[in-house]
Subunit: 458 residues, 4 copies
């Protein structure tokens, strides 16, 4: 393969560490598509005769059929998918196969194939995020007015609606989609034609190849094009943050389905049992989603470390770009699918949520706000009064909204009868009507706005 300068073959361990076919065979579709586009361009520009071009194209189509049928036999001596294809092409069409590699190199070829793969991975990820958003919107609509405790520091803070809580995750996913879309736009330049590193003297038409493969334009600098792996890092950065968002939702599902919370019941389809404890019903899928985020972060780190300090242009280190990307893409795809299925099937237990919301004196802020609004007390002072009311309730072993007017007035005489109704959790959520607030009316508006934005995105 490397021609006339080499006398001896590789050592066994060298062959083993060097071969990438077990990994990069996954790029066969991209490799064949790109080779067909390259050959067509070589023919259009007269670099290749039309006969050779036709033979090459038929050969590549035949190989596609073979691979689709599972007939790719891995041969470590042929190193990678590019050499497997070229070798098989030679078997099928003879010496003309040797002309396909005119005006290109494995350096631009692999950058190009891998870009095509990552672009498809982005498109698939965008669809999976979309499906999870849809599930969130559906459940949020259903529970736009369901009251639950709003936690900060995992301490009950103020009552919120479950719909509002779920819409917080939809908001994260909107940013996640935007991140993948930005990555796609930034990467969509075709490296093909950069050859080994310096471009080529053949009169190629890079615009034609770029167009044929759905790229926006050819890449601008041949040295950059063969050594650039930004598009891999961009995918992994976006994937890592999406996975971290999913880990937060997974953590909540795990908490909510624990006995002390009891906010949701996991259906059998999303639970596992124990080989020893007959009472178990475990949220394994949520735990695995949370765990997968760790591995995706590890994959991102691997890529960044890989690139650190590499001089231009191509270095073999870059062969290690694929395992982390494949791993992260598979894990994220599965995580998104599992989360979508789980969300759709979760059985919420509104009475447990409402009870928990009431239990934490969660309307103490409402009392303070009432004092500010109706009795013109500075907020800091009102906050102090409400705190004393909570302490009084605790001392009595009751929750805040069980205090009588007399008890409240004993703390501060400015508290009037009109303050009592604001202390229920339903009144509290209904009152938070500021833009982006938790009131059911706002949640319904937010769902409508999200649906409209999604329609206009498509």
């Amino acid at each position: 393969m490397w021609g006339g300068r080499f006398a001896g073959g590789p050592a066994d361990v060298m062959r083993e560490i060097n071969a990438s076919i077990a990994i990069d065979k996954r790029l066969w579709r991209e490799d064949l598509a790109a080779s067909r586009a390259h050959a067509a361009m070589l023919a259009q520009t007269g670099i290749l005769s039309s006969e050779d071009a036709a033979a090459i194209d038929q050969g590549l189509v035949a190989i596609a059929a073979e691979y689709e049928a599972g007939k790719l036999t891995e041969d470590p001596a042929l190193e990678d998918i590019h050499m497997h294809v070229e070798h098989r092409l030679g078997e099928l069409i003879g010496p003309a196969a040797g002309r396909l590699h005119t005006a290109r190199s494995r350096n631009d070829q692999v950058a190009n194939d891998f870009k095509l793969f990552v672009r498809s991975a982005i498109d698939e990820t965008l669809e999976r995020i979309d499906a999870l958003e849809e599930a969130l919107l559906t459940r949020a609509e259903e529970h736009a007015a369901t009251v639950m405790p709003g936690f900060t520091h995992l301490q009950s803070g103020q009552p919120v609606t479950l719909g509002h809580h779920l819409m917080a995750y939809q908001g994260m996913l909107v940013r996640d989609r935007s991140r993948f879309a930005d990555a796609r736009a930034r990467m969509n330049e075709c490296p093909l034609g950069s050859a080994a590193l310096a471009g080529t003297g053949f009169p190629i038409d890079r615009d034609a190849t770029a167009r044929a493969l759905g790229f926006d334009r050819p890449s601008a600098n041949s040295l950059d094009a063969v050594s650039d792996r930004d598009f891999v890092v961009d995918y992994l950065s976006a994937a890592a943050l999406t996975a971290i968002h999913l880990s937060r939702l997974a953590e909540e599902i795990i908490l909510w389905s624990s006995q002390p919370f009891g906010f949701v019941t996991l259906p059998d389809a999303w639970s596992t049992g124990s080989s020893i404890m007959p009472n178990k019903r475990n949220p394994d899928a949520a735990e695995l989603v949370r765990g997968h985020s760790a591995r995706i972060v590890g994959d991102l780190v691997a890529l960044l470390v890989l690139l650190k300090g590499l001089p231009l242009a191509y270095a073999k280190d870059l062969q290690d770009d694929k395992p982390p990307l494949f791993d992260a893409h598979d894990l994220l795809s599965l995580s998104l699918a599992a989360m979508t299925g789980m969300l759709a099937d979760l059985v919420f237990v509104p009475e447990r949520m409402r009870a928990a919301a009431a239990a934490g004196h969660a309307t103490a802020t409402d009392l303070a706000d009432w004092l500010v609004r109706e009795a013109n007390v500075p907020f800091r002072e009102a906050h102090h009064i409400a705190g004393r009311a909570v302490a009084a309730a605790e001392a009595r072993g009751a929750v805040l909204d069980a205090l009588s007017l007399d008890e409240l007035r004993a703390i501060d005489s400015r508290i009037g009868e009109a303050a009592l109704p604001v202390l229920t959790v339903e009144a509290s959520v209904a009152s938070r009507v500021s833009a982006g607030g938790t009131a059911p009316v706002r949640v319904i508006e937010a769902i409508a706005a999200a649906r409209a934005a999604r329609r206009s995105d498509k």
Copy 2:
């Protein structure tokens, strides 16, 4: 500060781990600007009397003057910058200070302040990247036709032009700028008015505050707004990849200035010596730029790990978002400035570069291409012939372009006299005229195109 529910004060260690003023005092400008906008909005909506609003505004202006003059005294008991400001406001204007915290919470306040900071950090970073691009364009123009070895695997591959090499880095920086710009657009939503987590019942005008602070709109969901740190991750992701790009350029400067390469001389202004070895002239700045990339990657990892598995909404873990961001921003700023200065002052040694380009048989591909083009040899065969020519040159202890026509024809008789001129490094680079190729004419075009794109960006 926390009012009536608390009897005892914090333990010493608790106070120590909890206080963030030593870190977040850096946000004082943002905190004061946001408080002024909040107070103005409270007055416009009638929630605050105009007298109170005026007193608060004057107080905040006075505090700004004090802090500008270095008069911020840190008090761990006041925890953070928000409490320092509020406490000082109370000293300056009395109880009316207590009304400023109406309809907001530290949760939305800190998210808002930090967003303002990160937005400024992006703007500053964009300017610094711009300056480095300018330096690269200047030097690339100067050296559009300077020949150097083009390496892959750090082995001499084909000759390239130094201008082309430098433009590869300019291309990376274009993507870096685009990444920061995307991050800026995505983050530019105002969290203020989300209050603790649920929004508020006060009739606030979030559009007004958002507008006053230069945000595109208010954030859409109060729970998300107080627990979202995506904007920090977005900054750090973009910073990590920019730093990795700089680490590659730094690695090259270190290589190029080593004695065996000798491609550049570092001026005294960018060198250091040794405390023991009088002969040393070290590229410390380049090494520090390379080293800083490691710490910035560490900062990104810290943020991702921080967020993993956190339930909604705000958790105190989020206080640890600031040290990694400040660290990465400072390191990246310094790295970009150092690289810009170094680049501008580097003394290139074209004769060493040209000699190295010729030494590696770097025009072997040109011989193979000539055989394809002029003698219609399939590329794979031509590659083999050229490889044998390299082996012959090596055996003779010469470089490829020193072989005579007879010697070449002894290898393959199809090699004609016209092949000889293509074997010089100058002819080689001049021939690579494909789009994005290394030919001087293409490099000059690329510089012009980059300049035009930069003008239209501004």
Copy 3:
């Protein structure tokens, strides 16, 4: 400082990126101690006259007094702590100061100083871990028989004792201590005398310096000695895992103090409130401990990335070794102290724990085990029967141990009256007497064994 080869001074940005005094001034004690040992050795070997050595020693002692009194003035032109000391020594004792740097270089000097620092950091960390173990042992002893739910997947699995649960963390800390102790033993070789990279021709006595500074021996290879930062990585690896252990305990404290769990109450000394919600009592210290683990992981990553791909010997990148180490050490120290204080003061609520243990059908395994033991049912079948009993209890809205004998026999007639007592949580924990099991008797033994092992460690 770099002598005769340099004509011009550094650029401003160069000076800024290069100076490390703001960071490494923290090493002043180590630098002075090592310089005193070096000077003493130079005198013993006759390289330095006894007059010069005496003057140098007095000068260094004087500088120590100045620095102790806070009189170190940072001068970026003097770069680092080593140059600050040497410059000040020159001011104090004149030209003899110039002889101190004989037979050493900043390369071995900084490796040596930093090793001394890390060794102290390990010793301090070992003490802090010890204190936390002590707190765990005390609370475990107090609650050796307190019943709580044992969770897997955060689902109630089997009852355990709180003492047993706390001892699990003590076990992690034993491993943590062992990791730091291993690191200390591995690092305790003295780099001093390696000079710049190659050793020296002066007749120095490296054993003497090593002994004077408490090292086990001099390092074996001068190139390795000046470029080795394994000891920093070893500290950070051990710190990261310790911090991860603490993050798990922190997570549990956060869960346990949430209203739905209610297993512990945080005293005022370890709680914070909210600026807006008067009802809050937040476990901030636990959250910060959890958050700090993220930053410590980031610090470890920074060091590994820093070292990747560096050729021998010293490179300036290594200057970036100190910020991550200092950061991790400070964060870990504070985390351990906070956790020790929190643990000691936590108010456990045994009745909530016991109730939760009973609520999850947590003794279903005991029923299955009874069937295996007393009725010779294969475990897999017994597991199935107990699972049906749980389903029956759930259908009735009761917990398992509320089922009557008749109800149980309706599921499987082999269940006898003697099975009923095993269904209480107290009987369950008492029965798990296997080595390392949760039975109170085993917990008490485990505490005694841990105490004995600790005594023999000291």
Copy 4:
């Protein structure tokens, strides 16, 4: 499998995310060995009849033969290797198979199997490190007196010997071995018998099982035992640092084999060519070793992130512990083997090394030291004089040791004729006889000492 509480089966995506058989089938040897030990103990303690125990043991032996012959058929419905074995055992021996799971759970089973695997991985890694050390010692001995430039900051600093340089890496590997050995000692406690999380009421003999499986003792706390993955982190920490060491050596091989350096020639067996450039001879194996270090760092990060914030005891997240460990172990094994082979076959080019050593004025320190030693000049002044000599040589376009005595005396009259001989690179290395220094005599001693230490380790 989970018995009577479950009515419906898992969703498809649930089954897909949950099944681990494709990964953990790699543990089949460990699973079978541990099950045999567990069954034998159950029989010894009378928990299992001797007939059942014999049937189980024969069944397990039969399964081992099947798996060895490649007859493990993966069935996602059976989830993992443990269930595959148990299911197959049932097919082979009938209901008695159900008794094997008495007094154990998958939680202690998987912890135990994985520990056995990691322990073997450590043993294999120790052997591979050993082989690389052997290769280093052999080449170091061969080149104990070969002179090369000693670099700091990749600038020529002082001459060193190649043997000394290679021994620096042997020193790193000694620490690497020690790190793996410490990890092995720390992990060698048997989790079996911890059951699900709480221990068991069956009268098991944990010492017997531990002994049978080569563990030092049973683990001390059942909750810790099932949720502990420290041993995985310990392996990965040690692997990451070893890989980073290899990345440094790989970087040097890449540099040394570049045309400008030319210090080594890679034989064909360890080189690859280019698909387009016939002149290439690429150090792919070294680049892949460098690249693999990035992925191993990513694997370590994955594990640390995975464990962060997990409450006790077992959580399904822990299933994600295996892919990073398997990946890191495979990559490190291959990296060590490739480096060992490459080192053994590298062709050093001593004349290029010697020439480079002389080219960098590398004996300037020797001149300074001579002035200190022979003319009693304070080191700082001597350093300055030598720096002026370097500047003079540079101005003349010569190297330092080409200056005449007159030229040197023009710089400082204290330089005598006796100074001239110290300016050769051979004299320089011969002079650095301090302990751990680069003088050939010291290198030979260091090799002997390393060999002696290795013998006494075995």
